[in-house]
């Protein structure tokens, strides 16, 4: 687990995160497909820049949203995001 916390998540090759005005939500675009994201997912992915570690992402989110104890949620989300192929560890 500590290995994961120190590794650096980034949006996977070929995926693009962007705001869609018409749909009024963030989406993740990939070859011939798209997923609509809820605000939480979009907020986490926005910090997955391949430079921050998972701990760095958590800290950035807690700072940005003036929140505490986000670790569990972020780790759970990233686990699923990796499983779906949205995020890869650099």
């Amino acid at each position: 687990m500590s290995d994961t916390l120190n590794s650096k998540p980034g949006i996977a090759l070929g995926y693009r995160l962007q705001w869609e005005e018409v749909q009024q939500c963030h989406v993740l675009l990939y070859p011939e497909g798209m997923v609509q994201l809820n605000d939480t997912a979009a907020a986490i992915l926005a910090f997955c820049d391949g430079k921050r570690s998972v701990l760095g992402v958590i800290a950035a989110l807690e700072n940005e949203y003036e929140a505490e104890d986000l670790r569990e949620d972020v780790v759970a989300f990233l686990h699923e995001a990796v499983d779906r192929g949205w995020v890869r560890y650099g």
Binding site: L13, G14, E20, V22, V27, L29, P31, E32, G33, M34
Partner: protein
């Protein structure tokens, strides 16, 4: 009627020209002549207008989109508009330099199609020596940092080689592989007796696809969808009529499904005359099969009608003569025997007396 949801997919069929002659092509038999193609300015307007009403995925398709000399201009504009753009190509008409230039202009993804995993069958089906160049282009795509998507169109002539196709894809380090079933429209429908696999072949291909999905999980994603002819239920064609998908044909005709041209009773419009917004939201063609008002039995009272929306209207028309009939791939359709008969013919291994027809332009149209 409430305003429809935005189109998410814009398929830009920029030309019907193609250097290949695949007999499973789903383009219409009457290919649009080059002189009737939309010009650059009109395509740019189409991209802009479609993006404004919410289209996010853009497919450059054809024919072979690489034939268009203004493809670079369109790719650059698409990126600036915020499209995720997909180039759906045979690879013929580009070299490593053009692949790189597309990348710089902001193309997101290139899907290279193969006819088979070996040069002999590939080049026979394509009607031209193209296999080696496709390999080179697949490698160039990978080298340029695109996600590499390989597409094999599957039919009777090559379905026995699914394992070899997947091995080739793995060797090329593909990120995604589509084992796409031939769509029995246009040239493919004309050649259906040569192309339709047997039930056993379809299931064996499915088994192999599943085996490789498990083996290559996390490395290569494999898409294999059992063709509708073998499923007893239709597919929700293009995600439902006028719900997510908008195609524009080479001559500018806007289509709710890329095979919808010529459906009787359907009033379609050209992007030269009308805005994309009007076409999507207001036009009679796009509203024709929205909702359930058009449905007859067995669709009207079917408890699965919200799942498949009655299936493919183009297929219903081609096989039964009436696009408001249930898609005959559905076992509930009174016309389902037509599909069963086609599969039976395939099971019997009857070689049709009609020769396979390779796609070509009518000599009279340029």
């Amino acid at each position: 009627m409430a305003k429809p949801p935005p189109p998410l997919w814009l398929l830009a069929e920029v030309t019907h020209s193609c250097p290949l002659q695949c007999p499973y092509c789903s383009n219409p038999l009457d290919l649009i002549p080059k002189k009737d193609e939309l010009d650059t300015e009109n395509w740019l307007r189409v991209l802009h207008e479609a993006r404004q009403i919410g289209a996010a995925q853009l497919g450059f398709s054809g024919g072979e989109p690489l034939v268009r000399k203004d493809l670079e201009v369109l790719i650059g504009a698409a990126r600036k508009l915020g499209f995720y753009s997909n180039l759906i190509t045979s690879g013929i008409g580009m070299d490593a330099e053009r692949v790189e230039r597309f990348r710089e202009l902001g193309l997101d993804h290139i899907q290279v199609s193969f006819q088979a995993d070996d040069a002999v069958l590939n080049d026979y089906l394509a009607g031209t020596h193209s296999f080696q160049h496709k390999l080179d282009m697949a490698r160039a795509v990978k080298a340029n940092g695109y996600p590499m998507v390989l597409c094999f169109v599957i039919h009777r002539q090559n379905i026995g080689q699914v394992r070899q196709m997947l091995d080739l894809a793995a060797e090329l380090q593909a990120d995604y592989v589509e084992l796409a079933t031939a769509q029995y429209e246009g040239w493919a429908l004309l050649n259906r007796d040569h192309l339709l696999p047997t039930q056993a072949q379809v299931r064996e291909a499915e088994r192999i696809a599943h085996e490789y999905q498990a083996k290559l999980k996390g490395k290569m994603r494999i898409y294999y969808v059992v063709p509708d002819y073998y499923e007893n239920r239709p597919k929700p064609c293009v995600g439902g009529w006028g719900r997510v998908f908008l195609a524009v044909a080479p001559d500018g005709l806007a289509l709710p499904c890329h095979s919808a041209r010529g459906l009787p009773g359907l009033e379609l419009h050209n992007v030269r005359e009308r805005s994309i917004e009007w076409i999507w939201n207001e036009s009679p063609g796009f509203n024709h099969f929205r909702g359930e008002g058009w449905m007859k039995e067995p669709c009207r009272t079917c408890d699965e009608r919200e799942k498949d929306f009655g299936g493919c209207h183009c297929q219903a028309f081609k096989l039964t003569g009436d696009p408001t009939n249930a898609d005959p791939t559905c076992a509930k359709s009174p016309h389902h025997h037509l599909v069963e008969k086609a599969i039976d013919t395939s099971e019997l291994g009857i070689i049709t007396s009609k020769p396979i027809v390779f796609r070509q332009r009518n000599k009279n149209s340029k």
